[in-house]
């Protein structure tokens, strides 16, 4: 028990260290924050269609994370996590693990959803999960980012029981349900990928046949 506690404490300190300093930190922009928001909103080209402009709206999570520089006090963080956990939806057939081959494709694709007039994505371009931008996955892909933790051999290490499958699904759907103000996008909440596509990415991480667990 003591050992567990020590580990727990160690981890909390490691993750939460910046939180202690944050009490003294003011919200970004200080007294100009409101004016900055107005300026930001009026900085876009008039030709942007209205439905593009809705992408600038902030929900409570976004607003709060901005205010606390992505490092909210624990109490507020917990509130956001609850709020986000309540958003998670599942595929109609209830199956949370799909086809790893489809997941492998989605993990590599970083395009989709770009708007504007300079280099927008062509209509119908696949929106991927872009997992490699931030995570190491299959070892053969050397061009991986390190914003998130390495996930290579994820299934080998974590197993493939129901709890793990659900955890991975939930995390991809809305990572803010676990860590408020995480860097990871809320893929499911924003319908960036469909619940079915999330099950494929789950399979890519967990399926023993997936290259994530094979090389």
């Amino acid at each position: 028990m003591n050992f567990k506690f020590a580990l727990f404490f160690g981890l909390t300190v490691a993750v939460g260290a910046p939180a202690f300093a944050q009490k003294a930190v003011e919200a970004p922009g200080g007294k100009y924050a409101k004016e900055a928001e107005q300026m930001f909103r009026t900085s876009f080209k008039a030709e942007n269609p209205k439905y593009w402009m809705t992408r600038l709206e902030q929900d409570e999570t976004m607003k709060t994370c901005q205010q606390y520089r992505d490092n909210p006090p624990r109490k507020i963080g917990e509130k956001l996590e609850k709020l986000n956990a309540a958003t998670i939806r599942y595929p109609v057939d209830g199956k949370l693990i799909g086809d790893w081959k489809e997941g492998e494709k989605l993990a590599a694709v970083g395009t989709g959803g770009h708007i504007g007039f300079i280099q927008p994505d062509p209509a119908g371009r696949v929106r991927g999960g872009n997992c490699y931008a931030c995570h190491e996955l299959a070892r053969k892909e050397v061009a991986y980012g390190t914003i998130g933790p390495s996930l290579s051999n994820f299934g080998k290490v974590r197993g493939k029981d129901e709890d793990t499958i659900k955890y991975v699904y939930d995390k991809i759907y809305n990572a803010n349900a676990f860590t408020a103000c995480t860097n990871m996008p809320r893929f499911g909440l924003h319908n960036w990928v469909t619940p079915e596509q999330i099950t494929h990415i789950v399979a890519f991480l967990i399926d023993p046949e997936s290259p994530v667990n094979r090389d």
Binding site: A108, G112, H114, Y132
Partner: protein, 155 residues
């Protein structure tokens, strides 16, 4: 083709003719030299390209080097070079196996020019790069793989 060009360049009358045409504004000096090896640049496969270059089946040689990084951060600009310690190198070329057309560039090296040329090429995907060298009238080759990686924000 190269022989033909040299003949033109060497022959006095050829040069005089070129000079006259250029002076008359009919052709620019650049165009006068035109004998771009269309067949070689249009060839798709390695084998067809080598054939069009008259290189047949070149022997692998460790005296030929492909210079360049193992990994390219972007396929639009990949620094590659050819170097060789073989004697009397008169021509070198850079071929990219998986590009739509394998031949990227070829260079004729007159006497006195070293067998060491560097340039930058586009690569559509990870591929083997071949350096082709003509030394004492015979063709030699070397290869290396260059990995082309995707960029950050997926743009």
């Amino acid at each position: 083709m190269n022989n033909q060009r040299r003949t033109v360049l060497k022959s006095g009358s050829g040069a005089a003719l070129l000079g006259m045409l250029a002076a008359a504004g009919i052709i620019t000096p650049g165009i006068a030299l035109a004998d771009w090896n269309k067949a070689a640049f249009d060839a798709k496969s390695m084998a067809d390209t080598l054939k069009a270059l008259g290189a047949g089946t070149p022997a692998d040689s460790k005296d030929v080097q492909v210079t360049g990084p193992d990994i390219a951060e972007n396929g639009a600009v990949v620094p590659v070079g050819v170097a060789s310690t073989l004697p009397n190198v008169s021509m070198v070329a850079i071929l990219i196996e998986k590009n739509p057309n394998a031949l990227a560039a070829s260079f004729v090296l007159p006497e006195g020019t070293e067998a060491n040329v560097q340039t930058r090429v586009k690569m559509g995907q990870t591929s083997n790069i071949y350096a082709l060298v003509k030394s004492d009238g015979k063709f030699f080759m070397a290869t290396k793989e260059i990995k082309v990686t995707l960029g950050g924000c997926g743009g």
